[in-house]
Amino acid sequence: MKLPPFQALLDEHRVDVYRYLVATAGPNDADDVFQETWIAALRAYPRLSRADNLRAWVLRIAHNKAMDAHRARGRRALPVAEPPEQPSEPPVADGQPELWEHVRELPSKQRTAVFCRSVLGMSYAELATLLDSSEEAARRNVHEGLKRLRLELSE
């Protein structure tokens, strides 16, 4: 199995991954999840059996890590009230915050499907690999996600 140097993978996809995370996981979680994603990818990389579809592979890791962070956040919020917010660094600029807030309210698969299709221009085949679903299901996730967004925005 001939894999490219990991750095080549990182150079090619890190901006897409980071933007995906800022948009879909939110500017507050993006940095941590970005690190988690690439560390997990680096850990698994030598055992990878195919070198095609590397973008879908790494975005799938990002999708999963974003869900982990989301769940962890939910758990943390439950038992005790969080201490008052520390004055923190201003979050990363994210273009059009309100639009992404609506994107973040979509179910996780639709969120990923909408971003990867509309912004990254993924084919349904690539998106199906990412979501570990059929192409038909990938198409449906894009369609449903866009429909919901349109509805939200028209309100």
């Binding site: 140097p5 990991f6 080549a8 933007r19 970005f34 030598p46 990363v92 994210d94 509309s118 866009l146």
Partner: protein, 196 residues
Amino acid sequence: MTEIETMLRRAAAGLPDVVPDVSARAEAEGLVDVAYTSVDSPLGSLLVAVTPRGLVRVAYTDHDDVLERLAARVSPRVLEAPTRLDGVRRELDEYFAGRRTQFETPIDWSQLAGFTRKVLRATARIDFGHTGTYRSVATGAGSPRAVRAAGNALGANPMPVIVPCHRVLRTGGALGGYTGGVERKQFLLRLEGVLD
């Protein structure tokens, strides 16, 4: 494309394009099998790569090809990690500034096969400002008659400058060839005071 997709695309143009560094954490977790950086030198930009055991590669040209070969031969976990190479970078800077005559950076000999390794180890024993011959390194490698094979091993030296194959000349004093081209060999021999 629908209107909403156009909106998303436009908004995405405002997303950040500067991303956090991951090499520090990758290093801390021991996940970098080959760390590399480029080092500016009077001979052009040098690609320098190390494994946890030590130096594996110094390359004058074709940096992308070199990295691909390292990924195939050593490990695909190849990452640009400049801090791990701070020591060797400093030694190279000092050498080219004329302030260092010996490299202390450890070398990973494990990537080199039998005879090549012996020849290059014999070459590494030639001191700054001195020279050997293809015959003397063949002898140093334990095979005095394998002069041509010693020449081939030197031509394939993966760590020029630090394993000083530029110090090996033809018997009689002719320069002979060099991995980085004969001008670089002349430059290094001048730097070391062997040539005027």
